[in-house]
Structure formats: C-alpha cells, structure tokens
Symmetry: C2
Subunit: 305 residues, 2 copies
Amino acid sequence: MGMDVAEWIAVDWGTSNLRAWGIASDGNVTFSRSSDRGMGKLGREDYPGVLAGLLEGVDPSSGDVVICGMAGARQGWIEAPYLDAPADLAGLIFSAVRPEMSDSALQPRILPGVCLKAPGAEDVMRGEETQLLGLSALVPGFSGLVIMPGTHSKWATLSGTRVERFTTVMTGELFEVLKTHSVLRHSLQGELDGPGRDEGFDAGLSMGLDAPERLTATLFKVRAGSLLSGRGPDWCAGFLSGLLIGAEIGGQRDWIAGAEVPLIGSTGLCALYARALSRIGIAGRVVDATDATIAGLKTARKALA
Amino acid sequence: MGMDVAEWIAVDWGTSNLRAWGIASDGNVTFSRSSDRGMGKLGREDYPGVLAGLLEGVDPSSGDVVICGMAGARQGWIEAPYLDAPADLAGLIFSAVRPEMSDSALQPRILPGVCLKAPGAEDVMRGEETQLLGLSALVPGFSGLVIMPGTHSKWATLSGTRVERFTTVMTGELFEVLKTHSVLRHSLQGELDGPGRDEGFDAGLSMGLDAPERLTATLFKVRAGSLLSGRGPDWCAGFLSGLLIGAEIGGQRDWIAGAEVPLIGSTGLCALYARALSRIGIAGRVVDATDATIAGLKTARKALA
C-alpha cells in the first residue's frame, strides 16, 4: 500500500462489511478496499482504529471521509440521528455527524439515515438514503417508486432528491430464517440451485402475486410439495423465493404507478425482481447497488462545495 | 405403577411429546401418563421400548393401543399413509397400520393422517384429523369451519365426520423463528408478558386483519416501533402475535361462513384467536385440544366394535 491517491474517501459501513473507495478530484474512483469489519462485529471504541487500518498509506488531499450506513446507528460508532421523511436528500451532508479521530489527518463524516414517523407506518432506513440520492444523480429528473431488493427490501417513493415515503419488506431475511430454522428446512436440504429452481420460482411467484394475503398459509406448500409430490430442494428453494418476492410485490402493488421501476441491489436478486415485475407488465431497470452508493456519497459531498 | 387398569390405551404421539390415557369399558379415563419421548427424538427402533416403558405395569384387558400423530409419519415408527381429502374420518381406524410389538401383549394401531392433493392447495395433517373426529363426537351434527391454532394452525371444513378441505397456516412457527432468529429479536428481549402486551396485540391485530397482504412489510413495524417510539418488548411481542394471528384470519376470511367457529387448541392461544375473531363479529367456541384428541381416539376405536 502507500500508492493510493485520492482527494477524499467514500465509505459504506454496513452491518457485515466495510468498503472504501478513493475518489479523485475529477470524480473517478482511484482504488477500493474492503474488510469484514462491519458494525455487527465492532464496539464503539474500535471504529477509529479499523478505519485508520483500512486506509493505511492513504493520504487524501482534503482529509475528507464520507461514510454512510450502520456506522451511524445507535449501536455503531456515533449516532447520526434520522432525518424525518418526507426529506430532501440533497442536504444529507449537513446533517452528518463528525466523530473524533485523534492522531489522524482523516476527517470522517457519517451521514444520517431517514425515518418515517407516520402512525402505523413507522419505518427506518440507513444506507439506502445514500443510494436513493445516488439514483437521483444517475437518472436525473427521476420521480416515482424505487425498489431496493435485499435482506430488508425497501420500497421508496422519490421526487427528484426528495424521499416522500418508504416501507421495509422483510423478504430476504424471511427466506433465510425459514430456510434455516423452520420446518421448511427439511425440504431445503441438498442442491438448491438445480434445474427445478426456475419452475419452482414461477409457481411460487404466481401464488404470491395472486394471493399475498395468504402467504402464511402458502408457505407450507413448500413442505406439502416435497411430501406429496416429491419436489426436490431446488424446486422448493425456487418456490419459497418466488412466493416471498411475489407476496412483496403483490402486497405493495398499489405503490406502483409508472411502467418502469428502478431496482437497486445485487445483479442476481434484481434479475429475480425484474422477472417478477414483468409478470404484471412492469419493467425493472437494474441499477448496481455499489454504483448507486458511490454516486450518492459523491452527490452528498458535492453539496459542501 | 402397577395399579392402572383399563380396557385399552389411547395415545397421542407427537413430535415433541408422548401422552397415553387408560380408557375403561365405560369410556372413562382411568389414568394418564406422559413423557418427552416425541417423534423428533426417536429412531425407528426406539418406539416399541418407549411405548412399553411408558405403559409399564399396565395390562389393558383388550390389549388395544390406538395411536394418533407423528408416530405414523415417514420418519416415525412406521408410516401410516395419508387418507386423501375429502375423507370420511369415521372409518379412520380401518386405515390404521399395525407395527410389530414383540414380547408384549400390547397391540398398537397407528391412525393415518389426511392429505389434500388439489393442485396449488396441497397440504397434510397428522394428529389433527383425530381431533376433528373428536369434535364430531363432542358437538354432534356440527358442520362448518374449524380452526386449530398452534405451531402450524389448521383450518378445516367439516361436514359431520367428513373433512372437505383444509389448509395449514404457519403462524406459531413464524412467531418463534422471528422472535429467536430475525432482526426483530432485538425488540423482543426482556419481559414479554408486561402490561403493554395487550395494547400491542390489539394494534398488531388491527393491522393484520386490515392488510394481511402486507404482512412481510408490517412485520418490520415491530422493529421500527421500538427504535422510533420506544415500544417495550411486551408491546412488541403482543404486536407480533396480533399481527400474525390477524393476518391468518384476515387472509383466510373467505373460509368463514357461520357466526361461530370451534377453536381446538390450548386455552391461552384459543383465547387470543377468540379475541381476534370477535373483532370481525365471529364467536370462537373453545374446545380443549386434549379433550378433542381423547374423544377422537375413542370414536375411532368404537368403529371396530
């Protein structure tokens, strides 16, 4: 190390991982580094050392380090209080908190998350607000629904840089806990990526889209399918995935207005959502999550100039 | 032991527990015994010894032991193949299987479960069919929907002793896996039975009944409620329970025809379901699960005479 130059450092500090990118004055990414030292593994006192260690040999000319994600949670480095939605994300950096970083020229800022306090619709996001700000830069003038598939999917309505409302859907985490800890695990042991996966996905998707209100009943069809029809683990895994994604989209269908919906997330997962959306005549426009995060951190910092 | 007399033995052999009742010729229960040697803890070869051990010193005059539940599963003592629904439960005993029991005067019979093979509605039950047969004896002439709250709730439509259709709803298991393994566990640590539990239950129940299709989104309101509104673990536990029960009833509402629904299960859980049903103008009629099981085993055996 020691050869990495940058004007400033963009950082995504999540629950599981920590990623940093060097950004040149022209906006280009000059290097990237990452580690598994996510918020979930750290005590409050660990953060300065972990950040300094990751950025060893780097001397960003401005000293700026702009951080989004769980480092700003109450159980993170230092709490960056939520902005209340509806909220304009253009000024995100002005609500950043500045933790102490002694014995270092680095000047970290942690961006806030966004919360929604509407009674019965309370919700929180931390990290996704930066991706939404990034989307507003990547797709100038965009307004409408954005879906961010993941462990906790977010559905957000954006007007330019303003987030109007959003909700969290626990699709990815439900898949994991049901696969690992519920009776359905008996049907999901072995090769999950076999040739039956696509067929299972489509069957589950139909059921989830058609009857999202029956999800807690149709989930058991995974087990019944393997007991009665000899469905293999690949079919069952596809079915469970399709059912949960179908129920997510079917249950929130009234949020969909336009004919195209940006999908911010990993390529593989976004492809499944695009396939699901196409069933109801909607085109998914995949935006890589890392691209959106970097664009958001850049846009946030630009407001300082 | 050694003083227990009976004409025959009624047995409920579930996943977690084994329970036996001595039945006199007049139908009275003369004794009961139980153990934690459920199907989940046993290999195929363990069953004869476990049964003989539990019934040590008992010498039923007929030798008959009538068993319902998971002992008849593929991974149990010996598989008792499912009856296909629609199915008349009156003749359940004629589909029982008779496992070997050497060095013993006991003559065990294991009752079959019931399956539904309708495409897209495949389902299975094992043990509940005996409770349904019991209900037909406890409430002669009953026809209509029966709800059996539990880890895996069953909704079944009964016409006398005939089960027309049924579905499994994973309400109880979802509560457990979400409480133990998901991000919601952070909001469910501490005293869950505090004074906020009832208020949380009612709030969750409203949301689940009104919008069962949004369950995978409203689940996250547990977490948001504790982060944003300082809800305690008792409120959160009540909310999660109400949300899941509300979604179960709201999602299957079209199954409800009459003004009264029998509820077969534990007293505490049935009380929650009765409270939920009363919100939509339906009376729950609680039938103790053990009473229904014993009545079902008696009715099954009576057909042999």
